[in-house]
Amino acid sequence: MSDVRVFKVENRLAKVMRLPGGRTVAEALRGADSRVASIRDRCLTTLATKGAQLQRLSEEAKAGQDTVSLTALYATANDIYSIAGAFGMKEAAEAAYSLCDLVDDSPERGAINWPAVKVHVDGVRFLCSEAGAVDSPVRVAIITGLREVAARFAAEN
């Protein structure tokens, strides 16, 4: 029989949240939304920079075929997904997530589909740019195309 100990612990979060005062859920949500909105412009600038970084990282990864560049490419796409999602940029977030899928699955499947990666990188770059943020029909067309590429990649593997 292994040595297992089961015990109760005090929930100190509950204790502090029960203190008098605080704000209603509606007030808290309004407060959070307005504060997050206050850093939107700065975050969107970062997003555009990260979109541009993707191109360099994918070229380095393709040339070197090394896991370090591939990990950096994955991490950057993951960052883009998180930031774009937080500001309601659905297509940019979805494209970045799909790129993560491609890069993350590739080592397991033994080969990287570079054409699929390239078309995703181009798509994410555009969707993170200022032009991508305003042109809704183009955004929809890009994400539809990327979904087809991702589906073909999944079917081939």
Binding site: G21, G22, T24, G31, A32
Partner: protein, 201 residues
């Protein structure tokens, strides 16, 4: 596990909470900090690395920890494993919500097995975060210390010990039904339970 819906009129008080926010991506950390400032948190402990977070764990008594899994110097899962085994009380028992970006099923399993209380997939809207925080505040699960695991009990439902096994816990009930220890109810007693009666007075 159920997440009860929050009413907009419900009250939450995080003003005096000690909350550690860990994300090595500067914008991600800012988004988290602004969200919690909106919730009314006065002084968040901002950490851009696991090393900073470990220092805060040693210095403050924390009520809640929110950590991204993709931290640069040590991933979030490792950080939680360290926290649970750190022996720094009460912080080693603090509720931990792990935030993930690109999420595979294996990531969720990894988060559960490292000792986190819950996994929240990004983008975590303020409403989703608030729901998870109130869920963590209602957390009643016991802690389990075992050679290969330290954290909240991973079982959310009590199903008793496996069939034909005695169970290792002192409060595990036996699957076998023993002999009755009190007299059986007769039919009149049973019928009386279903008969509405006029309240006295």
């Amino acid at each position: 596990m159920t997440l009860s819906p929050l009413l907009t009129s419900d009250k939450i008080n995080l003003a005096n909470a000690e909350v550690l926010l860990l994300d090595s991506q500067p914008d991600g950390l800012d988004i988290l900090c602004q969200t919690f400032a909106g919730f009314g948190l006065h002084t968040p402990h901002r950490c851009a690395s696991a090393a900073e977070a470990m220092a805060v764990v040693q210095e403050r008594e924390l009520n809640l920890i929110i950590a991204d899994t993709a931290v640069s110097d040590m991933d979030g899962y490792e950080f939680v494993r360290w926290l649970r085994r750190s022996g720094v009380k009460p912080n080693c028992f603090a509720p931990v919500l792990l935030l993930t970006g690109h999420t595979k099923a294996s990531h969720v399993a990894k988060a559960r097995d490292c000792g986190a209380n819950m996994v929240v997939r990004k983008p975590a809207s303020p409403m989703v975060l608030l729901q998870r925080i109130t869920w963590a505040a209602r957390e009643t699960r016991a802690f389990v210390e075992a050679p290969n695991y330290y954290g909240p009990d991973r079982r959310h439902r009590v199903l008793g010990p496996p069939a034909a096994m005695k169970g290792r816990r002192h409060d595990d009930l036996s699957a076998a039904v023993g002999k009755a220890t009190t007299p059986n109810l007769d039919q009149d007693d049973i019928d009386a339970l279903f008969q509405p009666k006029k309240a006295a007075g």
